[in-house]
């Protein structure tokens, strides 16, 4: 038997978790690009470093983003991955597919690309890994024909994504999937033609469990919530208790605001609705018995991002509650105002959260027309160094003196 060309990668064929190496090796038999991708990866495993160069600018007609240029720094050794560009393809909301649609994608990427994919990229797109420059346009044409479009890349609106939402979750307080689809279609230009200081991410979660990590990963995080009281099915609570759930210990005692109480004798759950902060813990524990209220909408938060450059931010509340019903004009208008202010004020590669940190939340709120509310802060400032607007002072303050 011939000696393996990938002795290190072969070690990743062992073990119970699905092996991308085994998978790639099979496709390598008919795809030279995959053969070379494995070869180059083996080289990385040996050298302990990557072998891809900075991307050149490649793309398809009419788009400024959606394609990531990628070139090998060992293209002479692995000519079939010398050019190995990525296409980002906008996923359907909630990552739902019919097999018919998925097979179309597979056929297109078999014809025009390496046949390697990610389901999905970190932002949510379908990632088609590896093709040559001359195949980009034909691949795009075929994708478009099949009803697919490109996602975002560079300094633009990145592909919005949403949790499973009302399609299959009883906790969805907003129609995450429809909002995601509607916003994506409304902002096609912002998605496809980079024109901003930097990227802008948008994620929509149906409830405060935040299954799409909107608070950590989106510049604008839309998180479904409700304003009225949790609804309780008292009979179902009793069933949980009878079924062995220690309601007092696992649910009531862990309520962060002490809004719940437990009558062990009657197996009755008490709720001081005004004390509830809608964290979802009790609902998560007893999905058959408890559910969000009926006055539903979303909390909007801004600024979430990873560490580069100044620090990581979790998004900050800027709208404690907004009703979100089609055509979502209030949300769209707010987004446009945010983008306008950010675009006018930000330095290159400054995310909106960093700009707000630099300029002050006060300036941001005024610029986009949002009223301050105590729900926006954990606690107010402890220092006396705050600004006044001229109109808040008698005689227009210092400005008149100058």
């Amino acid at each position: 038997m011939a000696e393996s060309r990938t002795p290190l990668l072969d070690e990743l064929e062992k073990g119970p978790w699905p092996s991308f190496v085994t998978d790639m090796k099979k496709l390598a038999q008919r795809k030279p690009a995959v053969q070379d991708a494995l070869g180059q990866l083996e080289m990385s495993y040996r050298d302990k470093k990557g072998h891809w160069k900075h991307g050149g600018i490649v793309g398809v007609r009419g788009y400024g983003g959606g394609v990531i240029g990628r070139y090998s720094d060992v293209g002479d050794v692995f000519p079939n991955v010398a050019e190995f560009h990525t296409m980002r393809v906008n996923q359907p909301s909630g990552w739902f597919y019919t097999t018919e649609k998925l097979r179309q994608l597979c056929d297109i990427w078999e014809a025009y690309g390496s046949g390697l994919t990610n389901f999905h990229g970190s932002t949510g797109d379908i990632i088609l890994l590896g093709t040559v420059t001359q195949n980009l346009q034909p691949a795009f044409d075929a994708l478009s024909e099949a009803g697919f479009d490109l996602g975002g890349s560079g300094s633009d609106l990145r592909t919005p994504s949403a949790c499973v939402g009302p399609a299959r979750c009883e906790w969805a307080c907003i129609d995450t999937l429809d909002i995601c689809h509607d916003l994506t279609n409304t902002f096609q230009d912002e998605l496809h033609r980079p024109m901003w200081p930097y990227k802008f991410k948008l994620k929509i979660a149906g409830c405060p469990n935040d299954c799409v990590a909107a608070v950590a990963r989106a510049d604008l995080s839309v998180i479904g919530t409700w304003r009225d009281s949790i609804r309780i099915d008292r009979e179902a609570v009793r069933e949980y208790a009878d079924g062995g759930l220690d309601v007092e210990r696992a649910v009531v005692n862990r309520c962060p605001t002490g809004a719940l109480s437990w009558n062990a004798e009657k197996k009755e759950l008490g709720l001081k609705a005004e004390e509830c902060n809608r964290c979802m813990h009790c609902i998560n524990m007893m999905p058959k018995a408890l559910c969000p209220g009926v006055e539903r909408g979303a909390t909007l938060l801004i600024g979430g991002k990873a560490t580069i450059l100044q620090t990581a931010f979790l998004s900050w509340v800027i709208v404690p509650f907004m009703k979100l019903e089609p055509p979502y004009e209030e949300l769209k208008d707010l987004l446009r105002r945010i983008w306008e202010w950010w675009d006018e004020n930000a330095k290159t590669r400054e995310r909106v959260g960093e700009l707000i940190y630099r300029k002050g939340m006060r300036e941001f709120l005024r610029a986009v027309g949002l009223p301050p509310a105590p729900q926006m802060v954990f606690r107010p400032r402890a220092n006396p160094y705050y600004f006044w607007w001229p109109e808040e002072l008698e005689g227009n303050g210092h400005k008149e003196q100058g």
């Binding site: 290190l8 073990g15 978790w17 699905p18 991308f20 998978d23 099979k26 496709l27 995959v34 495993y45 050298d47 302990k48 990557g50 072998h51 788009y63 990628r70 190995f84 906008n90 996923q91 359907p92 909630g94 990552w95 739902f96 019919t98 097999t99 998925l102 097979r103 056929d107 990427w109 046949g115 994919t117 389901f119 999905h120 970190s122 949510g124 890994l129 697919f148 479009d149 499973v164 399609a167 299959r168 009883e170 129609d175 994506t184 496809h192 405060p208 935040d210 950590a216 998180i223 962060p256 964290c279 813990h281 999905p287 058959k288 990873a306 560490t307 580069i308 450059l309 100044q310 620090t311």
Partner: protein, 352 residues
């Protein structure tokens, strides 16, 4: 010319009939066993979801395999989760068991629900990224092989979210995970002046440095680095290929713990540094997999039922965590970046 700006396929065309009919009218769900969910609608209709771990990096052949299964058992409908799992959407109850049997035969892991480890969010690594400090798919494979028992079972105190980013750019946004692996560099970039002068925009390059360690070198039409200020983030290399930051001898993996994004009980939290450096040791990163397992198990042994990783540590105190996890506490653990001060203890109350 093909059509542009058509947007993604309409999601409603991708939904199985039972979902279309009960859209927005689901009543409750239960986890029947690890990886198997049953959602019940107000109408009494139900749908079964079978959650399966995937490598995320898949060939078209493997995607077609998944399609074959979905055709056979799900009338051609499936979805993916926000953590790269596949979910087979089974409308016919009688097809759940046969699907599970075939998944078992074919070696697909079923799980990732409830108090388990779900699939790992991760980044490209050496397969396709140009700035990685470590690999993505390979470490994920090694770690998930090792923690397989916790994916296919629900024996942990709470859910555990593990993620990996192959450099500090954190495309995987791992900064709010229960356990996060991050590829790190440990030495300042080596400047290749001819590349910097020919290919890079100097002002943008200078602005890319979070610690203002890069200043112009007009003589060479390039830049120089104040090495004492550099903390090896690699952002300059992202902007300019002449700032070679990759260093096979010193690059490696850091591990952060205790982050979460859910609001349940406690607000979302950042992950915080537990292990500053482990070596890059392909193909199976034994030091990293062992460290992650140890971190999982120290939490599993000590946390209360329902307590996420960060909630557990915040309750017992970080000083106790380092002791229990047998991780030496170093000067690396004390923040000296932009927002360090609020992490310093201002109380005389702590444990020994």
């Amino acid at each position: 010319m093909s059509r542009t700006d058509i947007g993604p396929p309409y999601f409603k065309d991708m939904l199985p009939p039972v979902i279309k009919e009960n859209y927005g009218r689901w009543k409750y769900h239960e986890i029947l066993r690890p990886g198997v969910l049953r959602h019940v609608a107000e109408s009494g209709a139900e749908i079964y979801s079978v959650r399966v771990g995937s490598a995320r990096l898949m060939t078209v052949d493997r995607v077609r395999e998944i399609c074959d299964l979905a055709d056979k058992y799900c009338d051609g409908y499936l979805r993916f989760t926000s953590r790269h799992n596949i979910e087979f959407l089974v409308s016919d109850k009688n097809k759940v068991e046969p699907l599970l049997r075939e998944l078992k035969e074919k070696g697909w892991p079923v799980g990732g629900t409830g108090n388990s480890i779900s699939n790992m969010i991760h980044t490209q690594g050496w397969i396709h990224c140009h700035t990685p400090a470590t690999d993505g798919s390979g470490i994920v494979k090694a770690v998930m092989d090792d923690l397989y028992e916790y994916f296919v079972d629900m024996k942990l105190p709470a859910k555990l979210r593990i993620a990996l980013a192959c450099c500090l750019n954190m495309c995987g946004a791992v900064h709010c995970s229960d356990i996060a692996m991050v590829g790190i560099h440990r030495k300042p970039p080596v400047i290749e002046h001819d590349i910097v002068s020919k290919q890079c925009e100097i002002p943008t390059l200078i602005a890319s440095c979070p610690t203002a360690a890069i200043r112009p070198n007009p003589k060479l039409k390039s830049v120089e680095v104040n090495e004492e200020r550099c903390m090896y983030c690699g952002n300059c290399y992202t902007m300019c290929p002449g700032m070679k930051i990759a260093d096979p001898e010193n690059d490696g993996v850091a591990i952060f713990v205790g982050g979460k994004v859910s609001n349940a009980r406690t607000p979302p939290m950042f992950s915080r540094l537990a292990i500053p450096y482990l070596p890059n040791n392909p193909p199976r990163w034994p030091e990293v997999t062992a460290a992650v397992r140890k971190l999982v198990e120290v939490w599993a042994r000590n946390a209360r039922q329902g307590e996420r990783y960060g909630e557990w540590i915040e309750r017992i105190g970080w000083e106790r965590f380092f002791e229990l996890a047998e991780i030496p506490f170093t000067d690396k653990h004390i923040d000296d970046f932009t927002f360090a001060i609020p992490t310093f203890r201002t109380a005389a109350t702590f444990k020994w």
